[in-house]
Amino acid sequence: METAMAFLTGLFFATSLYLMLSKHIIRVLLGVAVLGNAVNLTIFTTGRLTREIPPIIPDDAVVPIDAIANPLPQALVLTAIVISFSFFAFLLVLVFRSYQELGTDDTDEMREAEPVDEPAPPLGY
């Protein structure tokens, strides 16, 4: 099962890297979104894939006797999902606003902050 998950996360990472190599900012955004999910799957897999064994403790014990499903990766993934989703929403608006203002979504042409024709500093008085 871990092997299959490893191939799946690998596919996610490959997709996101391919998308992020694009010049167009909207594809980069989609790549970042896929990357977030790739990392979430990685966390889930590194937490070890087990069957759904509930953490029920018998009356005469204090700690679980057998192995139980690990709840921590799910807590981590849940946190990461919330964060990456809110960032995706923010970036989507940011990308749309810069497309409106700058009139392009090509990163090569987004030179507003670093103009091509910026003069060199003066060499003397």
Binding site: T46, D60, T79, I83, F90, S98, M110, E112, P122
Partner: protein, 537 residues
């Protein structure tokens, strides 16, 4: 439903049974204050007249808590607190050692200075769009990142400060800002995601997220686990956050675009969080891997500082020049990490503290200069000395300080770093440090000469630029930060004592582990591996 009284559960196995002393709450006080006042500012968003007073009160209280925490740590050593009464590693741990307390303290000073400067720099519209709530939330995130003792929690605080910084960066939504913010947001989000990936692998290998727990368990998995790969991934992620050489192009693309107070705060605080994380990861957690990566880090450090200074020489815009000086300073701090000796670390930490204060002050200075010269372009600059001789004095202090010339605070850490490099025979690193100093001196000397000494060209620009007095808030925050660099430069003894102690603590991570896991309070460990509580969302 049967009650669980059938058998007795010994809570002391996993929980703190005696309440911690009140003074230990100082370790969470700064971020609680930040969040409470941030929420208050959000509630009074429409009341732009009252909002600054709430925000300044919050920042003053945060600084007071930072000072109290620093004093507490100075007297009693590392302060540890675990959330929800759990014994570590079951709950989220906050652990303030000297390194975290010092970074939090200087962050508090810089944040307060920024809040005061913003009284004049951020107008009604900026306040209504939420400048102060963003500022307080970003400050909380930064302080909490310095104080947390849990690596996943560190990721959460990185995201908190990142979203706060996004808000500050796009405030005003000008074309230039949107362009800069797009690049900043994407690359920083990518870096934090890679950090999360490294955390995932680390958790899969070590099975815990508590930093002290990782530190003591790392030795047992070093033979079987890919710790070196994980450490390298951390290095890549945090180098991107800290703007180290091959992955720093987001910084000069964005830091000059927002309001000047935002640029100043970013320059002082954000990249230093990355440097702090590198110090924490590579000295407290992975000191063996640091030894293996030391050569790589040293090359990165040298190239970062030299290319930063070269970038500063090539810029016509004063703010962009300062952006490159931030990068060059990061190289200095990384040199301290690469050297890893007591002298080197002491110098690196000292340089970080110096850079936080001086880079913020320099951006504030550039703000006043730009306003008086109708722009930041060096080829049109001039005529400031005849109008504002006092500003020339402050500018000279700050510019000499950033290039590391005596008698200001930049000199001492550089002297330490050069000595530490020569101690281990890394003459090329010492050469890079001194070469950077020379190039920085040329770059900032030219800025000073053009802006202050040259006659203003173009008569109509002279009359159009503002003539009235600079507001008290702006002058006050700038003078305060400048006095700090002068005082530290003339009397560095106490600072060196503190940074030397930090270096000693970093080199002996067992002390940090022992404070988190005191011998008499270790929970009984089951087989179940990590059982940590939920984190903030």
């Amino acid at each position: 439903m049967a009650t669980s009284t059938a058998h007795s559960v010994n809570l002391a196995d996993a929980m703190v049974m005696t309440p911690p002393p009140m003074v230990d709450y100082l370790v969470v006080a700064p971020l609680v204050i930040g969040f409470v006042f941030g929420a208050l500012c959000l509630m009074t968003r429409k009341n732009t007249g009252r909002q600054p007073f709430i925000a300044i009160t919050g920042l003053v209280l945060m600084l007071a808590a930072d000072i109290g925490l620093f004093w507490h740590v100075l007297q009693n050593g590392t302060v540890v607190m675990t959330m929800g009464r759990w014994l570590p590693p079951f709950g989220i741990t906050f652990a303030a050692d000297m390194l975290g307390a010092v970074f939090a303290l200087i962050g508090g000073i810089v944040g307060l200075a920024g809040g005061i400067y913003a009284l004049d720099d951020v107008n009604q519209t900026g306040r209504r769009y939420g400048f102060y709530p963003f500022l307080l939330l970003m400050m909380s995130g930064i302080t909490a990142a310095f104080l947390t003792g849990d690596i996943f929690n560190l990721y959460v605080w990185f995201e908190v400060l990142l979203i706060g910084s996004f808000g500050l960066l796009v405030l005003g939504s000008e074309r230039e800002q949107l362009d800069g913010a797009t690049k900043y947001a994407f690359l920083n989000l990518l870096a934090t995601t890679l950090f999360l990936l490294a955390v995932a692998y680390l958790y899969g290998t070590v099975g815990t997220l508590n930093m002290a727990d990782i530190s003591r368990k790392a030795a047992s998995v070093r033979d079987t686990g890919p710790l070196f790969t994980i450490a390298a991934l951390f290095l890549f992620a945090f180098a991107m956050k800290a703007a180290a050489f091959p992955v720093n192009f987001w910084l000069p693309a964005s830091y000059h675009t927002p309001r000047i107070v935002v640029s100043g705060l970013f320059a002082g605080l954000l990249t230093k969080v990355g440097v702090y994380a590198l110090l924490r990861i590579f000295l407290t957690l992975f000191h063996v891997e640091r030894d293996m990566l030391a050569g790589t880090i040293a090359v990165i450090a040298a190239v970062t500082m030299v290319t930063g200074a070269m970038g500063a020489l090539a810029q016509n815009d004063i703010r962009r020049q300062l952006g490159y000086l931030v990068i060059s300073g990061i190289g200095m701090m990384l040199a301290g990490l690469a050297l890893g000796s007591r002298t080197g670390l002491s110098g690196g930490v000292f340089y970080a503290a110096h850079s936080m204060v001086v880079m913020t002050a320099l951006y504030f200075l550039a703000g006043i200069m730009g306003e008086r010269m109708n722009g930041f372009a060096l080829n049109k600059a001039g005529g400031l000395y005849s109008r504002m001789p006092w500003l020339a004095a402050i500018a000279l202090v700050l510019l000499l300080s950033v290039s590391g010339l005596p008698p200001f605070s930049g000199l001492w850490p550089k002297a330490y770093l050069v000595k530490a490099s020569l101690d281990v025979g890394a003459w090329w690193l010492a050469f890079a440090i001194l070469l950077t100093g020379l190039m920085t001196t040329i770059a900032v000397g030219r800025t000073f000469a053009f802006s202050f000494w040259r006659e203003r060209t173009g008569g109509e620009a002279e009359t159009a630029s503002p003539q009235g007095a600079v507001s008290g808030a702006v002058v006050g925050s700038l003078v305060g930060l400048t006095l700090l660099t002068v005082a530290v430069g003339i009397y560095p003894e106490p600072v060196i004592r503190v940074t030397d102690r930090i270096a000693g603590e970093l080199l002996a991570p067992a002390g940090y582990v022992d404070s988190v896991f005191p011998a008499d309070m270790t929970p009984t460990q089951g087989e179940g591996g990590p059982q940590e509580g939920e984190t903030q969302q």
